[in-house]
Amino acid sequence: MIGAVVSLVALTGTLMAVPLAPAFIELYLGQDTEPMPVKDLTENVSDFARDFRNLLEDGSPAAHHAPARASALVLETDVFLDEGLFFADRIYAKGKLAAGGHNVFSGVLGEKDIDLGENATVLSWAHAQGAVVVRSGSTVYGRLSAGEQVELGVGCSFERVHAPLVTVAGGTKRVPANPAQPEETSVLERVTNRILSRDDFVLEPGERLCSNVVAGRKIRLAEGSHVIGSLKSNGRMELGPNVRVEGSLVSASDLRIGDGCLVLGPVLAEGDLFIASGTQIGTPQRPTTVRAPRIRISPGVTIHGSLWAHERGQVKD
């Protein structure tokens, strides 16, 4: 009888302990006790290119981005590539690189200028120390960067673009009548007052405002208006032609920037972002960031800094 009770207790105890066994084992062995690694977001858009150069120079896959595979096509002089080719290996061009149409590149690093040709496809990244020209109909997946300039043609698709100067071919470039004066301090510090609007906020044509604006719904800046400050809309935001904003634009929805506008701060939208012809964002002295899930830009747009479409960026007329 006693044996049966002991057996029952032992069996019950065992059955209760079984689900806890992994906990006790992990507590005893301590297999996963390292702190979670914190993310280092210091990465630059051209890190892939930098890692590739390190790999070529000293054979070390310098950073986490670089694949261990070291095969590369090294071009020692200025080269013109024929059309319709597929380059599975990454290309390192010491001179200028130009290509015919319909080429597919895995990755391209150019020490001078790169002209990818029409209807090209870049699968991972492209970087030039000089300028990169992406001609019409091309698609660049991943990162596109340049030490001097990136020029995008009509019909291009892009994801992440960075250069001191990003231009879109065609259209009319903006020549600001009153170019931005370099200020000692950021507008974020200079303008600290704000207008809080529960509903829509509208600035009339030619009106000038020195304040930050937060609108519960839409913001509409009419033609020729001028804001010294930043704007946030929780609905759609629309800038008419020739509007000037000396701060940031943040929209929780869609954002449409009209013809010939000048925006000096970051431009961020949680919906679609449309930038019309002749608009300039950032200045050479103060580059900035343009970011949205979907971006559509028109010919003649100039951006100084980063252009980042998380889902899809397009150049369209």
């Binding site: 297999q31 993310k39 930043s230 940031s248």
Partner: protein, 443 residues
């Protein structure tokens, strides 16, 4: 007897309904993080006209850790001419002042020390004094002395201020002393759930992310518009979150702006910390619950989430009371079979020091953690301890409110015993030598 026990059933069922609401909330947050659309609207600003920023490092008897924090800040990826570092040495009686002065001497012109030798106790009072006298920038970031800011952290925390609606920013806190004992392992998982699930889900759903008083920052104009630091509360960070919210400022959470901190390694330290948080949080709850229902720009969801967040620490004593009521009703012969079953299930899924077990497991998955999730059953122990300490804190608060008395502020003791490797990774190589010295001193 039957009439009396039926009366007990009313508060019992009321508490139960509230607990079920919290259970639904926890599942809602977790499912949102696992399957919903994630929202990081302000995270990818890599280039901008960065504003000048002041970083305040709150330090009260922090000789074990202050040097590491300052060395990390000296090597962040932010324009040096726009970064003002001010260690706020608040009436320390250990070597904190001497260590700060050593770091200042090694880095002339980079750090402005503020040695506060008298004045009202509490972090908020020290910060208020520093901000009134030494801070001349619009953006102010805060760190506790045991934090090790990574290279990109300052930019990640400053970036959201380009949105003029943002008054306050909170980053993610990651414990670094995970493997020290069972407590640190459990706390690491609870912390991960609080940030990875709760905070980010609130961000996704445009609710009320909470400012945690460290690894975050604020606009100076927003702070002063809302009345400055409240030096009377034990949780000035939570209080500030609500004051800013009611003044039309948003708090945003940056899940990828991560910073190492040190978790308590002893149960008594953890209990005191938890009691302080619970008391302070409940003070804020009494003060701001009604305010959330007054006309303002807040959405209905923000009001609802704000109230639920305010009442979270009150759920521990509420659950305890519900259990006592259930026992009393049982012995009085009044047994609500279904509601008691519901309470039993809801209690174990809704609470657990700001995180449910489901949340904890989900956050471990989101973090890519491996074997550590196996110790989840032990978190039930942490849940029981939290429930008891939060209940005790709530009852003490009621007693103090009736009989008078001031809530005591307990500093969280540091016990840094970090592997040199981790310090080396967090602190730049160039300054590893002095950091090693301070670690040895701490050990």
């Amino acid at each position: 007897m039957g009439h009396a026990s039926a009366l007990l059933a009313i508060p019992f069922c009321a508490i139960e309904i509230v607990i079920v609401i919290y259970a639904v909330r926890h599942y809602w947050f977790t499912l949102n993080r696992l399957f919903g659309r994630q929202r990081y609207p302000l995270i990818d600003i890599d280039i901008a006209d960065w504003p000048a920023v002041t970083v305040l490092v709150a330090a009260h008897n922090e000789e074990a850790v202050i040097a590491d924090c300052l060395e990390c800040l000296l090597h962040v990826d932010y324009p040096a001419d726009r970064l003002h570092i001010i260690p706020v040495n608040d009436r320390s009686t250990d070597r904190t002042e001497a260590i700060i002065d050593e770091v200042v001497a090694r880095n002339p012109g980079r750090i402005t020390p503020f040695h506060r030798r008298s004045g009202k106790a509490r972090k908020a009072a020290a910060l208020q004094e520093a901000m009134e006298n030494l801070v001349h920038t619009e953006i102010v970031l805060l760190f506790d002395a045991d934090y090790l800011p990574g290279k990109s952290l300052i930019r990640q925390l400053v970036a959201p201020f380009f949105d003029p609606e943002v008054g306050c920013v909170m980053g993610r806190v990651v414990p670094m002393n995970v493997g020290q004992n069972l407590l640190t392992r459990m706390l690491e998982m609870e912390r991960a759930a609080g940030y990875q699930i709760d905070q980010q889900a609130r961000m996704n759903m445009r609710l009320v992310p909470q400012f945690g008083g460290t690894a975050g920052g604020m606009r100076k104009s927003a702070l002063f518009e809302a009345g400055g630091w409240n030096t009377d509360t034990l949780t000035e960070d939570t209080e500030l979150t609500y004051r800013l919210l009611l003044h039309g400022w948003k708090t945003v959470y940056q899940n990828r702006a991560e910073c190492y901190e040190e978790s308590p390694v002893k149960w008594p330290v953890r209990v005191r910390q938890n009691k302080r948080w619970a008391k302070g949080h409940n003070q804020v709850m009494w003060k701001y619950t009604l305010s959330l229902f007054r006309p303002s720009r807040l959405t209905l969801l923000e009001r609802l989430d704000g109230v639920l967040l305010l009442w979270i620490y009150a759920m521990a004593p509420a659950l305890l009371i519900a259990w006592l009521l259930a026992v009393a009703m049982f012995y009085m012969g009044y047994y609500l079979e279904v509601p008691m079953m519901v309470l039993f299930v809801a209690a174990f899924t809704a609470l657990g020091n700001l995180a449910t077990f489901f949340e904890i497991a989900a956050s471990a998955r989101l973090d890519g953690a491996k074997a550590r999730v196996q110790i989840l059953p032990f978190n039930f122990l942490g849940f029981l301890v939290s429930m008891m300490t939060c209940s005790q804190a709530a009852f003490e608060l009621v007693r103090e409110a009736i009989l008078g008395g001031d809530a005591k502020w307990d500093k969280t003791e540091r016990a840094r015993k970090m592997e040199p490797r981790l310090v080396q990774e967090s602190v730049p190589q160039a300054v590893s030598q002095p950091v090693e010295v301070s670690v040895r001193e701490a050990a």
